[in-house]
């Protein structure tokens, strides 16, 4: 990373960290006001013309603060989807509205929120009355309250995106409460939603690759969050271990505690490497992005669960209380691990290379 970028990232990180420390929940208008909704959109459409690398900084800080926001669905996946589509006046207008925060969208990308196989959850059929959309997508981030939904659909086996208003007849968005209360997930069902041809938007470039890259982006976004929350928990544990005394000494002076903290740092250090490599691969749209994304998602989200679990353990009784808030991180880490492909599912993707010859 060049010096200029690093400076910008440091600045962004510090601003984000200050803002996110104020409140556990950050409302949509505030995200827009901070300029985070438009980071990746081009400047002529009201965006900042930055890249996924900058978005990753915000994601990591949101993980660190366990922020409740619609950023992943409303911005990271929405903007990622819109910039992957063929430019047009209507596409540009929506991208601009999403970038400025005027409109909130969500993306229904997969059937069950964890499938690493890119098969579109919706299908388009032509009927005498027009185009008819049917399908179901579960665990869609931030769909509840979105103004419009971007549905990944198959049109004669070619993936496209259908843009539907939340009020469309036959379209339902039902919240799916999960143990992690910091995320808003919903099941999106299209039961014969009628749309016209202008609502069907095509991918720019090879549709299969574009969809793959969107899933990679989703996986890496979650991995960034996991790195941030793991770092927060290590830091909290180290602070606690330095002040909490038992047997007449700070518990952090005991090797059992110290070495556990060292292991947390090692895992986080490895996760950081894999995640920053994946962020770069997504930002540069490299052909190895899928591999880098699977590595990062698999390692970082699993490591975060271990790290937060260890944080709860080392905090002792207080760590298990609702009051301590560690459970918030453990639940979020566990959800991150499952969302957009389990570590095992991503490793299975990677392993295809070995039987085919490396």
């Amino acid at each position: 990373m060049s010096g200029k970028f690093k400076e910008f990232h440091d600045e962004l990180r510090s601003v984000a960290s200050d803002l996110l420390a104020k409140d556990a929940a950050v409302d949509w208008p505030l995200l827009a006001e901070a300029g985070w909704t438009g980071l990746e959109a081009p400047e002529n459409l009201g965006g900042a013309g930055a890249g996924f690398g900058e978005v990753a900084v915000v994601l990591q800080e949101m993980g660190r603060a366990a922020t409740r926001s619609a950023y992943i669905g409303g911005t990271v996946l929405s903007v990622g989807t819109l910039i992957a589509l063929q430019p047009s006046a209507t596409r540009d207008a929506l991208l601009s509205d999403v970038a400025t925060g005027a409109v909130r969208t969500a993306v229904a990308l997969s059937r069950d929120g964890q499938d690493v196989d890119p098969s579109a959850p919706f299908r388009i059929e032509s009927s005498s009355a027009g185009l008819r959309i049917t399908g179901r997508s579960e665990f869609v981030p931030d769909a509840d309250g979105a103004d419009r939904l971007l549905l990944l659909a198959n049109a004669a086996d070619v993936p496209v995106v259908v843009v539907a208003t939340a009020q469309a007849s036959g379209l339902s968005v039902t919240p799916q409460p999960v143990v992690d209360e910091t995320r808003r997930l919903s099941v999106v069902v299209a039961d014969g939603v009628m749309v016209d041809e202008s609502s069907v938007w095509r991918f720019d470039g090879d549709p299969g690759t574009r969809v793959r890259r969107l899933l990679d982006r989703a996986a890496v976004a979650v991995a960034c969050d996991s790195v941030g929350l793991a770092e927060a928990m290590l830091s909290a544990t180290v602070s606690y271990a330095a002040v909490r005394h038992q047997f007449g000494r700070p518990i952090g002076s005991f090797q059992a505690v110290k070495h556990a903290c060292a292991d947390m740092l090692v895992r986080i250090s490895v996760a950081r490497q894999l995640v920053s490599a994946a962020v770069e691969a997504i930002a540069d749209d490299r052909t190895d992005a899928a591999t880098a994304a699977s590595m990062a998602k698999s390692y970082a989200t699993a490591a975060a669960v271990d790290v937060v679990g260890k944080a709860m353990q080392l905090h002792g009784g207080i760590g298990y209380t609702w009051e301590s808030g560690i459970h918030v991180y453990l639940k979020r880490a566990a959800l991150n691990r499952s969302l957009f492909g389990s570590p095992a599912a991503h490793r299975k993707q990677l392993a295809q290379r070995y039987s085919q010859g490396t």
Binding site: P250, Q255, A262, S298, K348
Partner: protein
């Protein structure tokens, strides 16, 4: 920073050189060889690399190095990708001895030793002792000033390659009354001096590269003191961590190339490659090796810019050691009984030679020496995270 186009050109140069110079059959040829053949092979390979300008890329330009960090990374990657032999024998000389002298040596010491190292002089590290392993600072070997010399008495242990060494990096106690880290001095010892007795120790895999060095009234000229008297601990500390970046990068690249490739091949041979559990393990190792390579590159770059954290090298050493152990363990499991019939492994190879059972047993040579995994965790906890020290901490 070197422009990308120049780096591409450099990569092409290294590749072409490797294609031409890396012997294709060295693994077979270096299995079951005697000491003399091993030493000859190592010295030959060192001179090959030297002639190409690849032997000491990390040294300053005036001493025969001068490669940028980006170029060094490419060099080690390509050597690993071409499965070149490792510089086992020259290791202490080109890394520890050179960096110690460059950091704390006199001009005379540099002039005397750096060209000689390039010429093939072999070095050994005389740090550990029977009673000073993980607690290195409690070492007892004494150095008593006598006119223009020091007289050394004591015993060193785990001196790798000691029987082939021309010179030794020696830590000895010059002030028995000072706090234990404050009474140690750093010496250069000519191994042909009277009173030096080297005896090999057979290790767990049957090799004898570790040595005991007995020092009985050994005279070292005062000119061979490195740094100030009683400042030896600081001299040793300053150069140990700095060296870890590049040497670890090389090992990580080897693990990522030949090491992982052999693991996949072992799985194929055992007809286990389609097994879901095996695939999962392979993917896990692939991911961890990728993470390790990133960590090493990061450490090298940070060391260069002086921004490395106090425990970054320990993170890398700990992670590599334990990853190597788990990976060779898996290789031994996958290799089945056939792996147990491989009674020797090629010398001059990396720590994953493909003789999995021996590699697995040999992996403790990483988790124990150079600061055991337990010591690394303590360093990471205390220097990396700032956790409180043990109340009984001394020195």
């Amino acid at each position: 920073m070197t422009p990308t186009a120049d780096l591409d050109e450099f990569r092409a140069t290294v590749r072409a050189w490797c294609d031409e110079h890396v012997p294709s059959d060295w693994r077979r040829a270096q299995t079951d060889v005697d000491d003399e053949q091993f030493v000859d092979f190592q010295k030959w390979w060192f001179q090959e690399l030297r002639a190409a300008g690849f032997a000491v890329p990390h040294w300053p330009r005036e001493w025969g190095g001068g490669m940028s960090v980006a170029e060094q990374i490419i060099l080690y990657r390509e050597l690993a990708a071409h499965d070149a032999p490792r510089l086992v024998l020259a290791f202490v000389g080109i890394h520890h001895a050179a960096s110690t002298l460059l950091a704390a040596g006199t001009q005379e010491q540099l002039q005397r030793h750096l060209p000689a190292i390039l010429g093939g002089e072999i070095w050994v590290q005389g740090f550990s002792e029977p009673e000073a392993g993980s607690d290195l600072a409690s070492l007892r070997t004494s150095a008593r000033r006598d006119g223009d010399s020091y007289v050394i008495n004591g015993q060193k242990l785990w001196a790798s390659g000691g029987m082939h060494a021309d010179w030794c990096l020696l830590l000895a106690r010059t002030d028995p009354d000072a706090a234990k880290r404050k009474g140690i001095s750093y010496f250069l010892l000519d191994m042909s001096t009277a009173g030096v007795d080297v005896r090999p120790i057979r290790n767990a895999i049957g090799e004898s590269h570790f040595c005991e060095i007995f020092l009985n009234d050994v005279k070292i000229p005062a000119a061979n003191l490195v740094g100030a008297e009683n400042a030896g601990w600081q001299v040793a500390q300053a150069t140990l961590g700095a060296e870890r970046g590049l040497t670890m990068l090389e090992l990580a690249e080897r693990l990522g190339h030949a090491g992982f490739r052999w693991l996949v091949e072992a799985c194929r041979r055992g007809r286990l490659i389609e097994d879901a559990v095996v695939q999962d393990k392979l993917a896990q190792f692939d991911i961890e090796i990728t993470g390790l390579r990133g960590l090493c590159r990061d450490l090298v770059e940070r060391s260069e810019t002086g921004t490395a954290g106090a425990a970054d090298a320990s993170v890398v050493k700990l992670f590599y050691s334990e990853l190597l152990q788990r990976l060779t363990d898996f290789g031994a499991e996958i290799g089945g009984l056939a792996a147990h019939t491989q009674l020797t492994k090629p010398i001059s190879s990396g720590w994953e030679s493909g003789s999995w059972v021996l590699d697995f047993i040999g992996s403790w040579e990483w988790t124990i020496p150079g600061g055991s995994s337990e010591i690394q965790r303590t360093i990471i906890g205390e220097r990396g995270l700032g956790l409180p020290r043990e109340p009984s901490a001394v020195g």
